[in-house]
């Protein structure tokens, strides 16, 4: 089973890299992705590290690239993503890249500055155009009023428009000044109010909206603006009005007073706008060409820059040798891959043309190595389920390989329905077959991504649900009668005309049972019976207990593997064996009784079959008063014996281990225990070239030293007591907990039955054929939707969570410590999506 069974054998290595070769070597290791570097200068600030300048240059390059990317996105140019993965460029190339980006950025900036200036110009001209147009209408109106006022002298002053009045006055004697300008539309109310207040009502403001939104030259947003014209009298007011305009960022434009001048100006403005348009077009073209060229390479550039940055980040974690000629790195790596790492280092050396080879030394350490399981896309999802609870301790038995089967199976016991299982399987198969296409699209959709990542687990869950559905004989709450039921109605008892139609209760004692048991699963005749629930409940409950006890016992036996592997014989004799006996004598006996009951009692003698629950309770109460409860000879004696054995196991678990430890400690043997405890893997690691680096260890991380604890009998006792109580109570509560398999299965079956009878069945019961046809179409759509949403999605989710819990709590608590930490190798693969800071922070 390789590394899925236990995590990979890891070793701490020391790397001596020649300064000139270090970059190439790290780059090769990054491509390989099999080593996890340790930070050797954790106390050194980010900006005091050796390669901080290179990192900074990369930051700068990234900034330029982001700037370019932003511009490219702004213009909506598609970025070419070829998906190819260029090697990390050599340091020399970094300068070229820098120069390229520098040139591009400055060119971009020039173009942008030009465009901005042109656009600003354009905006001003457009605004002026609008002003001329709108003011023309103001003046026209004014003229009109004026004429009107002259023609109709009877009209009182109130009826004459205000402007008309003023213009009329203008014509008399007073010279009215005016300014015209453009202002953001949303600022008009405040603007108007302030004008009124400051000038005490002595100005007249006329405004008109510009219909088309104008483009802001700096941000490129579309903004709504309005043209306004203010009439006032006198110089003092003029300066005030101008100040207010300035305060509200209104742009003022010169507007000639006579109509002919205005017209002339309008024509001039129009021609200038046209000229500007051509220039603007050319600038935009130039910009577009630049961006299109950049868009072709930008993804590759990003990858390159990120790789460089990642390499220098890694180099920053290294120690400098005293002679400054080589860098010293420490890393975790899998023992099995040492050759590949050596080869990568060799390649790196060759590439850099360094004469002195890089040296890879295995080191001896007392630190806990990281946990590394080699995964593929199928196993990874199961490993994630386990890791979500806790990463396995180094080299402890990994529950993932069994989870692959037991998880979908327990799920299916709860979800057992052939129809729903098929729906799930088909969906999962769709995801798997279209894997490549979907993976590209799914990246940014979190919810769908969840389904997509779980596609393999869904496939298995669907397949197992089909199987359990077949056993339960349940397809969308109906039964399949493939082989013909074993029950033939007794013509006397089940006379169609005489019997009570409301209760098709199958009496097991009726002599109508003929063909022998149904070949696979539940006899379909039960689907018709009124006591269907009773029989399935009994069946499913027993199945739940049987599978639960087997599952837990299996977990328990995995703990044996752990104890043997970590060489803790004490744990085998003082924990594993009494635990196993405890479990078997109570629950092992229970499932044995269940199976015997199935085999021994046929349909003929159901009446005398014992009640197992009462029996179990009486077993503990030593209550054997009723003779009828006993159904095999020697039952009383055997059961008393079992209870005594289980009772005896408790003090065994509780006392023996602390006692032995205490005794060992007293006779000065404590070392053997701690040695076994802490240094197990050292013993079997027959490392040939052990370089002892304890001094470096000590100087770097004194905290990591595992302190040998003082032996404290009280602490050991308390720990053992908690452990024992937890186990004994856990056995009972966990067995009961597996009954959720039955409960959820029951709920699922009932829910789908309700859905069938409340929705789809209505359509079948219509009198008229036509109505029935229409109703079937409508109801089917409704039923199908609800089936998918409620029964497959929601019930599936709940069954998933329960299966998860059964694995995390009931199964893994029997053997799994889960206090390791993940092996996160330095690899370029993650870089394409994340930038380095993110990956390094995740590493922390």
């Amino acid at each position: 089973m390789g590394s899925l069974f236990r995590s990979e054998d890891m070793t701490l290595c020391q790397l001596f890299l020649q300064s000139e070769a270090s970059y190439a070597c790290v780059s090769e290791l990054g491509e390989l992705g099999l080593v996890q570097f340790r930070d050797l200068n954790p106390d050194v600030n980010a900006f005091q590290r050796k390669f901080v300048n290179e990192v900074r240059r990369c930051d700068e390059m990234e900034r330029k690239l982001r700037f370019l990317e932003k511009e490219i996105k702004k213009d909506g140019i598609p970025m070419l993503d070829t998906g190819d993965n260029p090697d990390a460029p050599v340091p020399r190339e970094m300068i070229d890249l820098e120069a390229t980006f520098e040139k591009l950025e400055s060119e971009m900036n020039d173009v942008n500055a030009n465009t901005e200036a042109l656009k600003k110009n354009f905006l001003e001209l457009t605004e002026l155009k609008h002003i001329l147009r709108k003011t023309q209408t103001f003046f026209d109106e004014a003229e009109h009023h004026n004429i009107q006022a002259m023609h109709e002298p009877m009209v009182t002053d109130d009826n004459v428009g205000l402007l008309g009045e003023e213009v009329a006055r203008t014509s008399q004697a007073l010279k009215l000044g005016f300014v015209a300008g453009v202002i953001l539309r949303e600022r008009i109310p405040a603007f108007e109010r302030m004008l009124w207040r400051v000038c005490r009502g002595n100005v007249f403001l006329k405004q008109a909206e510009i219909d088309s939104p104008l483009e802001d030259p700096v941000t490129g947003d579309k903004v709504d603006k309005s043209v306004f014209i203010i009439f006032f009298q006198g110089e003092q007011l003029k300066s005030r009005v101008k100040k207010i305009c300035e305060g509200f960022r209104a742009t003022l434009y010169p507007c000639p007073e006579t109509q002919s001048e205005r017209r002339e100006m309008a024509i001039g403005v129009m021609t200038r706008i046209e000229d500007l348009n051509t220039v603007l077009g050319q600038t935009q073209d130039h910009r577009h060409r630049l961006l299109v060229a950049a868009a072709k390479n930008i993804k590759v550039w990003f990858i390159k820059v990120r790789k460089i940055k990642a390499i220098y980040h890694t180099l920053n974690m290294f120690n400098l040798d005293v002679t400054q000629k080589c860098l010293i790195a420490e890393c975790w790596c899998p023992v099995a891959d040492l050759d590949r790492i050596q080869q990568a280092l060799h390649r790196g050396n060759e590439r850099s043309g360094s004469s002195v080879p890089s040296i890879l030394n295995r080191m001896n350490t007392r630190q806990e190595p990281p946990t590394y399981n080699r995964l593929n896309k199928f196993t990874s999802v199961f490993q994630h389920i386990v890791d979500a609870y806790g990463v396995a301790s180094y080299r402890e038995v990994n529950p993932a390989p069994w989870t692959i089967i037991s998880f979908p199976f327990l799920f299916a016991i709860m979800f057992g329905d052939l129809g729903h299982g098929t729906v799930m399987l088909l969906f999962a198969l769709f995801l798997i077959l279209r894997e490549k296409q979907i993976a590209a699209k799914v990246a940014d959709n979190e919810i769908f991504g969840m389904f997509f990542n779980g596609r393999y687990i869904m496939m298995l869950m669907g397949a197992f649900s089909i199987y359990t559905g077949l056993i339960y004989n349940d397809i969308f709450s109906k039964s399949l009668n493939i082989f013909g039921s074993g029950w033939k109605p007794d013509p006397v008892m089940y006379d169609y005309y005489k019997m009570d139609k409301s209760s098709y209760k199958i009496n097991p004692n009726a002599s109508s049972y003929s063909n022998g048991p149904y070949p696979i699963g539940l006899d379909p005749v039960w689907a018709l019976a009124l006591n269907k629930i009773t029989i399935t409940n009994s069946l499913k409950m027993k199945i739940s207990v049987i599978f639960g006890v087997i599952h837990m016992t299996f977990g328990l036996s995995l703990s044996l593997l752990n104890h043997r592997y970590f060489k803790k014989p004490l744990n085998i004799y003082c924990e594993f064996i009494p635990q196993l006996i405890f479990m078997c004598s109570i629950f092992g006996y229970l499932i044995m009784v269940i199976i015997v009951k199935w085999l021994k009692f046929t349909e003929k003698d159901t009446r005398i079959a014992p009640n197992l629950i009462i029996g179990l309770i009486n077993m503990f109460l030593f209550n054997y008063t009723k003779e009828s409860d006993l159904w095999y000879s020697g039952q009383k004696g055997f059961q008393i014996f079992l209870v005594m054995v289980a009772g005896f196991c408790v003090p065994w678990m509780l006392c023996v281990k602390p006692y032995i430890l205490w005794k060992r400690n007293k006779s000065g043997q404590t070392n053997t225990y701690t040695l076994i405890n802490d240094n197990t893997y050292q013993q079997e690691n027959d490392v040939p070239e052990v370089v002892h680096h304890v001094d470096i260890e000590n100087s770097n991380e004194p905290d990591d030293e595992i302190e040998e604890k003082e032996f404290d009998i009280g602490e050991v006792l308390i720990g053992q007591a908690i452990h024992t109580i937890e186990y004994c109570l856990g056995c009972i509560s966990h067995t009961a907990s597996y009954l959720r398999l039955w409960a959820l299965s029951l709920a699922h079956g009932q829910l789908s039955e309700v859905l069938w009878s409340m929705v789809l069945q209505i359509a079948f019961q219509m009198n008229s054929q036509i109505i029935s046809t229409i109703m079937i179409i409508v109801c089917f759509a409704f039923w199908a939707t609800l089936t998918v949403i409620i029964l497959v999605l929601m019930e599936g989710m709940s069954a998933f969570l329960h299966a998860l819990r059964l694995h995390w709590v009931e199964f893994q608590s029997k053997f799994y410590k889960g206090d390791g930490y993940l092996f996160i190798p330095f690899s370029f693969d993650n870089l394409i999506e994340y930038s380095v800071e993110e990956t390094s922070s995740r590493r922390r």
């Binding site: 600030n45 900006f47 302030m194 300035e246 305060g247 960022r249």
Partner: protein, 351 residues
């Protein structure tokens, strides 16, 4: 409001959570120790990247200047503040608005002073604090007398009621501007104090203490700054905010103070302030009175986070963030000017 605490989380629980989250992003002592070791502003940027500030300077082209850092720091704080302001319910909305008023007062004073010195308004606007900007702000230079200022600009702003007391002032010159500023502040603090009191519960408990300190600090500073100026004692007494611990006895004593020693004598009557004045000195190596006040403020604000179900945390967050900005800018200035002697006189916030 009865059962105030019980219902607090319905309306304000989310934002209290957010503000406590923001608070944990405030730089710790360890960060400052790293920051003061920086050789250049680039180093500073690199270190800030590893804190809650993240990539806030990533898109700035080098070379960095202190003012860009300052702007970006302010921008970040304003984004956080506005996020909270946009998500809040009454009465928290009003409360947060109250916080912005002090920035509005500062902006108004800044603009008036600027226009007095004939600076163009476009140059002044970027210097205003973005939290205190309001629509009519840019047109402020049309006013030449306080009455005009009120009628034209301030009447629509929430500051209008505070301005009532200064309408009678005749001119807008340096002295009067200071008077206006302090009168506005006084009215603002008293109003804010009353508002917090009316909210009741833990909010008034935490906020009244904070505002009382703010009021007293202003009273002390006004007194010290006015010694030796033409401001008369009666006028000076009018500027003291009357919501602090000094009110009423301490204020009347301060009103009669003629020199620094008399101010110190007043402070001696109050335990907290005695400590502040005792710790401050003008000798090199001593902390200035201003810094001591800041330190005390930081202490108060940190205490505010100890209470739950109250708005004081929002005020405290803004104040602490402001202090942090001052610290970073101070360190950045010291680094930029290669003047490392005083780089350590920032005010640490959290350990």
């Amino acid at each position: 409001m009865e059962y105030h605490d019980l219902y607090f989380n319905i309306d304000h629980g989310y934002l209290e959570g957010i503000v406590r989250g923001f608070k944990s992003g405030i730089l710790k002592q360890g960060d400052y120790l790293n920051l003061v070791q920086c050789e250049t502003l680039e180093d500073l940027k690199l270190h800030l990247q590893s804190t809650d500030y993240g990539n806030f300077l990533a898109n700035e082209a080098s070379p960095l200047s202190v003012s860009t850092i300052d702007d970006k720091l302010k921008e970040k704080m304003v984004i956080e503040f506005n996020h909270m302001r946009n998500h809040c319910f009454e009465p928290l909305a009003t409360f947060l608005d109250y916080i912005t008023y002090s920035y509005m007062i500062d902006n108004i004073i800044l603009l008036i002073t600027g226009t007095l010195r004939q600076r163009p308004i476009n140059e002044l606007i970027p210097k205003c604090h973005p939290l205190g900007s309001f629509e009519q702000m840019e047109a402020i230079h049309i006013a030449s007398t306080p009455a005009e200022l009120y009628n034209a600009v301030l009447v629509d702003t929430p500051l209008a009621p505070y301005f009532m007391d200064c309408i009678s002032e005749q001119d807008l010159d340096e002295l009067h501007i200071e008077i206006i500023r302090n009168t506005l502040y006084k009215a603002y603090l008293e109003d804010f104090y009353q508002f917090c009191k009316s909210l009741g519960g833990a909010t008034s408990e935490a906020m009244c203490e904070a505002l009382a300190f703010e009021a007293d600090r202003r009273a002390f500073i006004i007194t010290i700054n006015s010694i030796g100026t033409e401001l008369s004692k009666e006028d000076r007494a009018k500027l003291y905010p009357r919501c602090g611990k000094l009110y009423p006895d301490g204020l009347s004593l301060l009103g009669r103070a003629d020199d620094q020693d008399q101010v110190r004598a007043v402070a001696d009557f109050y335990g907290d302030y005695k400590e502040i004045f005792d710790g401050a000195g003008n000798n090199p190596g001593d902390k200035t009175l201003e810094d001591k006040f800041f330190e005390h403020e930081v202490k108060l604000m940190k205490n505010s986070f100890m209470m739950q179900f109250q708005f004081g945390v929002f005020y405290a967050f803004v104040k602490l963030k402001e202090q942090e900005n001052r610290n970073i800018v101070w360190i950045a200035e010291c680094v930029a000017q290669r003047h490392r002697a005083k780089i350590d006189s920032y005010i640490p916030i959290f350990q």
